[in-house]
């Protein structure tokens, strides 16, 4: 079922040969930033969120501090072991709910605040999410302040049993407490949005000289309509105005555009071409079949976005919360993720749960290795990144919000003391880690959600 078994006419035509499905970068490429200037490389942040928790006994590494041994689930991370932090004992206190085991542990994964129980009108995540806070600070210098990706369509319907709209189960990025950021799930659309005009051999979109006058005018429109509207309507229109402004900002800033074009080095261009073909092939042969390749495409787009500095902030959801993705494509697994996560301590179920957990870490390891293969300054792109992996609950069988499975990859611009396995006192706020990352990014905030302060021992 993998791509490599398929005959690829397009690839042959392009003269690239029938190479393996996942073109790993053999060489170390120089980076856009280096090519452009000698200024300090920017920080990047991504969060890869997985639903349904992990097998609790196969997660924690054997020893503490830097000579730790990777656990069965974390074993795919061996190539980058010296650039990860495995962090045990953290909890997201505000995700405890008497009503529900999943939604309240998803929507607030990056806000660490309690969410409002509602089926629609009062959707509220309690706060801005970590990624969006970062985007407000370091995202504005790039074409796309932040990216939101995922593998599955957001689940529709409301969960009447627990009294939540499923929106909560499909959103970790919140621009404001009341405004979730939508996710892109189609590799082609995500890729084209960023790189459409830079793919070798592809016709760029025609220029649109009047776009600015159109946008200016609709903004004026909205402002004059505002006066005739009720309060809630004005809020809606405020959303509209913000959205138009965001689109206009990208247009307004020719420097951004020119900068971006300059950042597309020949190496990136080559990679864009390769990605373009891979996405076509996936769409043609493997869409709806090969979820691993889809995950890797989305991850590669994030890597390219970081590499070309199209964006510095991204979130990625492996699935919606309560996802019952059928993982039978993995050897030894039969059934859906959520059902298996309720393993009832049956060893047969737990073995499968472990395999599924490892699959998630494999994709994460793929991202870290890709970032680590790209040179930036005197180190690699991974050195200037913080790539968070986590789930909002530890063990799906118990919906426990304590001792969450959390890994932080990358050196955060050499601001983090990485390559360690740490175990914090039970009930240490997850938000303390967020404060640590904000500190590493030189973003000054008094506090974040229930944080009691950054982990100074992790900071250089």
């Amino acid at each position: 079922m993998t791509l490599s078994n398929q005959f690829s006419r397009r690839r042959m035509l392009k003269g690239l040969g029938a190479c393996v499905a996942l073109p790993f970068l053999e060489s170390v490429y120089p980076n856009a930033w280096q090519a452009k200037s000698s200024s300090q490389a920017p920080q990047r942040f991504a969060c890869l969120w997985m639903p349904n928790g992990v097998h609790p006994e196969k997660w924690n590494p054997a020893k503490l501090s830097s000579d730790f041994e990777l656990s069965p689930i974390l074993s795919p991370l061996k190539q980058v072991k010296n650039k990860i932090l495995v962090l045990g004992g953290l909890m997201n206190k505000n995700s405890i709910s008497r009503f529900d085991g999943h939604y309240t542990k998803t929507a607030n994964f990056l806000t660490s605040m309690p969410i409002e129980r509602t089926v629609d009108a009062k959707v509220n995540s309690g706060g801005i999410s970590l990624d969006q806070l970062m985007a407000n600070h370091i995202g504005k210098d790039t074409m796309f302040p932040s990216l939101q990706y995922g593998l599955d369509r957001i689940k529709s319907g409301v969960d009447k049993a627990v009294g939540f709209t499923r929106l909560y189960g499909g959103t970790i990025s919140w621009q404001s407490p009341t405004q979730p950021c939508p996710r892109e799930i189609d590799p082609r659309m995500a890729f084209d949005r960023l790189f459409r005009n830079h793919i070798p051999g592809k016709k760029p979109l025609p220029p649109d000289p009047h776009k600015k006058s159109v946008l200016d005018l609709v903004m004026e429109d909205a402002k004059s309509l505002e006066k005739q509207l009720g309060i809630e309507d004005q809020n809606k229109l405020g959303e509209y105005l913000d959205a138009v402004r965001a689109v206009e900002k990208r247009l307004d800033n020719p420097k951004n555009l020119a900068d971006f074009e300059a950042q597309i080095t020949p190496d990136i261009r080559k990679e864009l071409e390769r990605m373009d073909i891979r996405i076509d092939e996936w769409a043609e042969y493997a869409e709806g079949v090969d979820i691993t390749e889809k995950a890797r495409l989305m991850i590669d787009i994030m890597v390219l976005a970081f590499w070309s500095d199209a964006s510095r902030i991204a979130t990625f959801m492996y699935g919606n919360s309560v996802s019952n993705r059928n993982f039978s494509f993995l050897d030894g697994v039969h059934g859906g993720h959520h059902a298996i996560s309720h393993h009832k301590n049956d060893p047969r179920q737990m073995d499968q749960y472990e395999i599924i957990g490892r699959w998630h870490i494999e994709q994460y390891a793929y991202m870290l290795e890709r970032l680590n293969s790209i040179k930036e300054g005197s180190g690699t792109l991974l050195d200037n990144s913080m790539i968070l992996f986590g789930s909002g609950l530890r063990d799906g069988n118990r919906h426990s919000p304590y001792d969450l499975p959390i890994v932080l990859g990358g050196l955060g611009g050499h601001k983090l003391v990485s390559g360690q396995n740490l175990y914090f006192d039970q009930e240490t706020p997850l938000a303390n880690l967020y404060m640590t990352m904000l500190t590493a990014m030189d973003i000054e905030v008094d506090t974040f959600a229930d944080s009691t302060g950054p982990f100074c021992e992790l900071l250089t």
């Binding site: 009447k160 039978s328 919906h399």
Partner: protein, 656 residues
Amino acid sequence: MRSNFLIRTASMILLGLLPVFISADTKDDLEFRRTVRSLLRKHCTSCHNEADKKAGVNLDRFDFVVHVIRSGELFQKVVEVVEKNKMPPPTNPPMSQADKDTMLAGILKILEKALAKPDPGPTIMRRLSHREYRYTIKDLLGVEFDALKYFPAEASGGEGFDNQTGVLYMTPLLMERYYLAADSVLTQVRNNPALWQQLAPRSYRAGPLRHFTNWWKGKISDRKVYWRKPVNIAEDIILPFANKAYRRFLSIDEEQELMSLFENIYFEEWRKKDGFEIAILTVFKKIMVSPSFLFRMEANLPINDPYPVNNFELASRMSYLLWSSMPDQHLLDAAYRENLHDPKVLRREVLRMIKDTKFDRFSENFAPQWLGVQDLIFSSKTDQEKFPEFTTSLRMAMYTEVVEYFRYIFTQGNLLQLIDSDFGLLNKELATHYGVSGIEGTDFQKVDLKESNRGGVLGMGAVLVSTSLPERTSPVLRGQWVMEQILGESVPPPPPDVPELEAAKDQVHDELDLRSLLELHRQPSSCMPCHKKMDPLGFGLENYDAIGRWREFYGTVPIDSRGELEDGVVFNGPEELKEVLLSDKEKFAENFSRKLLSYALGRGVEFLDSHTIRDLTNQLIENNFNGPELMVALVNSYPFRHRRSDLADRYKDNKL
């Protein structure tokens, strides 16, 4: 002396304030506390208190009548369970008849008083849902646009529909896509001569004389050239289009704004061969990303009481309900010439619109979302290895069956046939899957199901697959589905941090017989009350496997699809289960009315809608479950034709 004065002054001030505090208590509040609250404390709050919150309910937090009204739905539930002796539970001392009467009368009095003055509820401007966008584009421009794929997927709200205000956000990503969508749609139209001709019957191109004149003007002045003719032609193209797109007449200012945009662009581009078209298309693009197009906006009048929406607003409400799209010319004419609030006009228009083929869209949008099968169209979670028969085309056929059958029943049948009927609409593939022979072709056709195990939504593949796990059936999920989608009863969530039983059942499903499964569910006492309700309903459908095929055995173990409900009613298999469901027609009628009202208003149904729901339910029963009649009643209902300003809320809040 001085300190005495201070004390006296202070106490006078405090005494002066006292009436303010007291005045917060109305006579109703005092009566409520004396009667209802004391009885709640006597009989209910030992379990339903802040700490225990049994079933998620806390009845120990009500001191004021306004708070009771705010939680009106909860108190309606209290009335229901006390009336039917479901509460207090048998484990607690029973309520005396006198206590019961006092409590219920007290609650009902408060609720009825609150409902006496009709309230249409909050109306917030609604962004077009992706489906509505798609159809509006189709009706406005005549082209197909796959909005569901092109725009980022959205969640649902209210009763589970994607057209609910609360979840229709506007984001930078979506705005970006709206702009590109307008571009791509307009390019499609421009490249289709027939469509373009309809939209822009005339064009203009500057002739040699005009070129010369402008050249000469350019010699003597730096001013941008301007002449009237192209503007006049453009006006006849732009303004009618804008009126249609905004679904109302434009204000003079808005007209001028659009025309000056045209002028700015045209007098810059006039030398180009298609300068006129470029300018027209740009103005169209502007219209298509304007708030007046993307949102359904209604005027907010600065008055306290609810007021009827204007004719054009009502026309849009009707067309988005019935067609998921903008009003057609006929409806706009009616809105212009007649009074749409007139029940006769309204009825005529609703019935006309139901006859239109565009009414298919209502079935397409409403039915799958109501039944919770909408995700089937995008993906499948069914295990392909275990069920290779479950092909994409079969999945699509199942989806189509739901839509086609619903449409047929709504327009030509009796809505109770959604639960049970002796015919279905099938194509060959689906009929074969169901074990019904003699059907040919890919078209869906009316099929006699008297001799089969099908008929009604409970036997439909789409429903049976959507309520199954990847590899096997789940009686719990199916039971929950029947309760929520058909009967409109919500099932409380499993107690916190107790593992769901689904997984336990998973392991034994194929190995144990049904009785043992049932027993398994009843073991933990905290799970029992709900599973006792859900599971029997689901077991009644066990003869359908995870992809909806009929079966009599699990391997070699015969299937026992008997079920016993809480009230002692016993049934065996889907046919008898359907009879049980049909025995309480009112419940289904109420649930269906509720779903439809939520879909129509774009918001969750609230306490203040109680009378509307009651009226629709009664109407449905009286008219023998006739779809079009229900639709007429719904469109005629108070909240559908009225709105209220929320500016008043602001003043109220300030005062408090």
